[in-house]
């Protein structure tokens, strides 16, 4: 069972009780468990990302919150009241669907006003709010167009406006950016985040893209095979991953397997002091935390771990490059450094022991290890 770091609420807006509380939710499709015992809280005004690989159950969790699926067990509360017993059309939750799900027979304007019309608001109020919502997503010029006549990015904005115009308590977004190309996607990430700040509505954003999750979220809930692996702010989850899986899934890392004996870690030929109990241990060391140093500084400083290695592979990434370095003991480590033209021969490397973060083994070894 993965423990979850207590929610770090980033804004003072959070009241005493969370906006949404998911308690022990489980769901199976046939004999195939998709979610096991999920508990998660979402604060008022928070941008929470549910991050996971395909098949991790993230979309199912979202659909349970929206009301399109029902949980086998557990409950969901919104402001202290049961949400999971209501049909989807009675929940003050709106969804932005993965492929937008705009009504093809209605104009952009009619799509945006749909939720207001079915709740039978006065016509003038509908018109005002639709105009306002279209202005918010900068789509006023397209009010009379049919969805088929506008681009994917524009459809995306309309889907957003159609959901937000209802002033939901919570907005669910199911991989809304996955159909956009890379540039537009980055632009929308920024826009979406600033829009969320502006309207102050809680967002639950589902994605498989860890970079997207890092850029946008107040907190990330990492889901793996139907269980929450870790819930924390992007910085926290990146710098202090709780498990080997988290460390590998979010960013790039070196996993160092070692043995602790009387306060000293022995990991291959490397060793450093730690304040951890005896026994086997696993550490995550980010490639950017390993530094290449001039040979002269190769001294016996206790605050750094030094070693030698040879470059086996060099991958250019623009501003930085990723080196595969074979250490003297035969193990390979990834090292990220600023780009430099020529690099050859023996490298002198070091890292601080505090950057080697102890992580738990993940319950079941992952099928496709990612780094």
């Amino acid at each position: 069972m993965a423990t979850t770091t207590e929610p770090v609420v980033t804004s003072a807006k959070a009241g005493l009780q969370p906006l949404l509380a998911i308690r022990n939710v489980a769901k199976s499709f046939g004999r195939n468990p998709v979610l096991r015992d999920i508990s998660l809280q979402i604060a008022e005004g928070e941008f929470l990302t549910i991050l996971g690989e395909s098949g991790s159950g993230k979309t199912t969790l979202l659909r349970i919150i929206a009301g399109f699926e029902s949980a086998d067990s557990g409950e969901i509360l919104m402001e202290g009241e049961r949400l999971d017993v209501l049909p989807p059309y009675r929940r003050r939750v709106n969804t932005v669907f993965q492929n937008y799900a705009l009504f093809p027979h209605l104009t952009v304007e009619e799509n945006v006003g749909y939720g207001l019309r079915v709740t039978k608001l006065p016509k003038t109020e509908i018109a005002d709010r639709v105009t306002e919502a279209l202005a918010m997503v900068k789509m006023t010029a397209f009010a009379k167009s049919k969805p088929a006549k506008i681009s994917g990015g524009q459809q995306q904005r309309i889907a957003l406006a159609r959901a937000l115009v209802n002033r939901p308590r919570l907005l669910l977004l199911d991989e809304p950016l996955s159909a956009l190309d890379a540039n537009l996607r980055r632009q929308m990430q920024v826009e979406l985040k600033s829009l969320q700040r502006e309207v102050g509505i809680s967002f639950v954003f589902v994605t498989h893209d860890q970079e997207e999750a890092m850029v946008m979220s107040d907190r990330i809930a990492l889901l793996r095979m139907g269980e929450l692996e870790q819930v924390a702010s992007p910085r926290e989850i990146y710098s202090h991953p709780a498990t080997a899986y988290t460390a590998q899934f979010i960013g790039h890392t070196n996993l160092l397997r070692g043995e602790i004996k009387s306060g000293i870690v022995h990991c291959n030929s490397l060793s450093w002091r730690v304040g951890l109990p005896e026994g086997p241990a696993l550490f995550s060391l980010r490639p950017e935390n390993i530094r290449i140093v001039p040979p002269a500084t190769d001294n016996a400083d206790v605050n750094v771990v030094t070693f030698h290695g040879k470059i086996r592979h060099q991958a250019f990434h623009g501003a930085t490059e990723l080196l595969q370095v074979v250490c003297d003991d035969g193990h390979t480590l990834s090292v990220r450094t600023a780009t430099r033209e020529q690099r050859q021969g023996d490298l002198h490397l070091e890292f601080s022991p505090m950057d080697a973060v102890p992580v738990r083994e993940s319950a079941i070894s992952t099928s496709g290890e990612r780094g």
Partner: protein
């Protein structure tokens, strides 16, 4: 890409078929409609508009045409009323038994039309199944006469026969509606009923139009059901055409009526296609 010979080889047979069995007969029909019959029962090959004047002068032709359209309209309405709910159920609620139900809709189409029309005759007749039952349970003393040999019998039989023709296109249209649109509608606060009228029904209109066209056009030209079950009050326009080409030996007038029917039907098909295009969004 393909050689000329190859293209000719695959285009020619259907082309010959169309010319031989469609264009030439229609051409002949067209010509006949402007010819006339001499008192000695031979075709006079000189052009005249008499047949068309006759058509509009003699009340029975127009009356029968209007009656045929009225019967076809009723068949269309009842077929849609029966077919839509069935198609809707099949598409949205049949679940894993979808294919089985679909087959059940199609199976009646395998049974000969003639057999089904005769079956209704045994059900509706004065000594038929229905009347015997009604008398047995003492709902009536005498057999109900209006059941058979009436427009009622024709509408009932044609509705039975053409309902599958409305179910299939409506079902296909409903199957094409992305289910996330239904979810989106619920998500935006629309109840199931609102979702049906605001999303599902508008998006199924092309199927409804196709089904309506099938039912109307096929019923309008029907000849067997009125012949077997219609009686004098249930005569339809095709029966008149048949008798004009047969016993009455007035091919030119028969051709004129057929041509009018053809124009009517082709305009309907054209109109329905226009409307279907207007209501499809893919």
């Amino acid at each position: 890409m393909f050689s000329r010979a190859y293209r000719a080889a695959i285009t020619l047979p259907p082309l010959i078929w169309v010319v031989l069995f469609l264009l030439i007969p229609y051409g002949l029909l067209f010509c006949y409609s402007f010819w006339s019959v001499s008192p000695s029962q031979t075709i006079v090959h000189s052009w005249t508009l008499d047949n068309y004047r006759e058509l509009f002068r003699v009340n029975v032709y127009l009356q029968t045409l209007v009656r045929s359209m009225w019967i076809a309209a009723r068949v269309m309405t009842f077929s849609l009323l029966l077919g839509y709910p069935l198609a809707y159920f099949l598409s949205f609620y049949a679940g894993p038994r979808k294919d089985l139900f679909y087959q059940l809709v199609i199976i009646p189409l395998w049974v000969s039309y003639l057999v089904r029309a005769y079956a209704w005759k045994t059900i509706l007749g004065s000594d038929g199944v229905l009347n015997t039952l009604l008398q047995y349970v003492h709902l009536t003393k005498h057999p109900l006469e209006f059941l058979l040999y009436s427009p009622f019998a024709v509408v009932l039989t044609l509705t039975h026969i053409y309902t599958p023709f409305t179910v299939l296109p409506i079902y296909a249209a409903l199957e094409h509606i992305p289910r996330n649109l239904v979810e989106a509608s619920h998500d935006l606060g629309a109840s199931p009923l609102q979702t049906f009228w605001r999303v599902i029904f508008p998006l199924s209109i092309p199927g409804v139009l196709a089904g309506a066209t099938f039912a109307f056009v096929l019923s309008l030209g029907d000849f067997l059901a009125p012949l077997l079950l219609g009686g004098p009050s249930g005569i339809m326009i095709s029966n008149i055409v048949v008798s004009l080409f047969g016993a009455a030996y007035n091919w030119p007038l028969g051709a004129a009526i057929s041509l009018c029917m053809l124009i009517l039907v082709v305009s309907l098909l054209f109109l329905s296609e226009k409307l279907e295009k207007k209501w499809s969004f893919r």
